[in-house]
Amino acid sequence: MSEASANATEIHAPRVHFETPQASAIGAAPAAAPEPSDVRKYLYSRGNSAIADRGFQWLMVICALSIFAIVALIAFELFQRSQLTWHAFGLSFFTKGFVDSDTGRLSYWDPINSHFSAIPFIYGTLVTSGLALLFAVPLAIGVAIFLTEMCPGFLRGPLAFLTELLAAIPSVIYGLWAVFVLVPLLRVYVNPLLIKSLGWTGLFNDDNPTGLGFFAAGIILAIMILPIISSLTREVMTAVPHSQREAVLALGATRWEMINMGVLRNARIGIVGAVILGLGRALGETMAVTMVIGNTAEIHGSLLANGATMASVIANEFTEAVGDMHTSALIEIGLALFAVTIVVNAIARILVWAVTRGTPVQNR
């Protein structure tokens, strides 16, 4: 009892009175509510944090909704500022070229004469992204297979770290290296070889001796999207339960057959998602591509020719755009890029999520 009173004085709370249940049940009048105890009165007097809690929660909700607001704002601004070209060309901006009145040739991008068409850039983006996927997907899946199934334990950590380090290198540095190392290499050694051996396909002709062009851009893009595809493929491969692997091995499969039938088959959807995510990154990549693609708004069949992609033309011409129509055309290209990358990324995320859903975070 003395301890209770000592405690009571320390915390300055009123002394506790316990009400026995019988006393309150028998003695309570049905009409009047029982008088709150001193403890309850004390706690009520302190107030509750309802307002602060609601306020804080709303603050968090608003910040989360800001992500929607950002996407909506980007779309709105891009749409708004490209109105000029929408009104002038409509959808034929993406489908038709122009015939030059003087020479009779087909031209696509002529700021002086206000001829704007996005076709060469769509072509450039498709060609470079296609090349990048062609080079990157086999290598990335090979690395993922090696790291998840074949790698000795002590190597796995460092190699995985190295692959992720590839993803951390900024785009300009890739471009810098490409301009000073890759392009001269292509120009002096690789391109002549390609022209000599594969020139008959029509894909490699020798009109462009600089070493810049779609091929160089495809290679540097492949290096850049490799880590994304590889790490996501590793993630979906580790998400496949071990029981699948063990079942296939129990049936007498070799290691490759186990990987093929047990793991890859189950992870197929996720790997497709990883590849599409890599495609999404390749579509939007700007700096490294701008530095090696040669920046010519024309369509050529040769892979060694100069060209331009949607992102590279924006990066090159925006600050020096000739007039409002030029700016508006570039912004419309940006809007198209935005729409395409959103769709591609959404598809990819759905595919990857469908495969890794339900796996605990620690297992990945």
């Binding site: 992500i67 929607f68 980007i74 601004e77 590839l166 540095i173 301009v179 990358t341 990324n345 959404a346």
Partner: protein, 288 residues
Amino acid sequence: MNAENTWNSQFRTVKDRAVTALAILATILVVAPLVAIFSYLVYKGASSINLDFFIKVPAPVGESGGGMANAIVGSVVVLLLGSLLGVPIGIAAGIFLAEYGRGTRLATAVRFTADVLNGVPSIVMGLAIYALIVVPQKHFSALAGGVALGIMMIPTVCRTTEEMLLMVPNSVREAALALGLPNWKSVLAITVKTASPGIITGCMLAFARVAGETAPLLFTALGNEFWSTSLNEPIAALPLQIYVYALSPYDDWHRLAWAGALVLIILIVLSVSLVRYVTSRGVLKGAS
């Protein structure tokens, strides 16, 4: 079945070995460019890094000497601005996803949109901020560049914050609430504090990613050859400067570009390694 190797099983063994060899070859082909890039960077950049690089502004074209001090400081300014914008909003969004919205459809939509926003090309962000800030203000500015970078940080910070907060065991939250803490205080002072090493790691990751971005700064911060730290004027940034110098025809500027690239990559590798160290050592398992 006798124990001799049938042709089929021999073929299967050969296939297995071939695939193993191909996988090893793929790994070598992937690691090779990385090693090539790094070693070339160090080789070309190391000779140009001296004290001048860090304290001098670029010299006029044709003169030797000069450095990239304005670019380094400009990068710091723009990144600070971006972090001021992106980190609080990102952490708040992550707190919503983990604490208040867990399991709701709104949270799924926010998570999905954040991932999609992550994939939007940075040059498109730059275009949007140009239309939003630069055009009304009628001049390029460091503020616009900071906003562009900040918006790019939000999805990354949000997702990593959510992941770290989900790792805090429920018992910690329940204990705080049982002791009479208001909900908001429990979230901030207990849950977020427990996960704070991981959250800081996520912020560093976003910071490292955004530190190397050039495209959003092309039409917002624009770049500046002279010393400037004002928020209302164009400002230089390290990746921007590297881009401009790399495409120029002057050898001196090429040397500076290599040196700048080396500085940038060292900073980024340091942050990524630090992030890896923190996450692998389990420091973020703050509840235990």
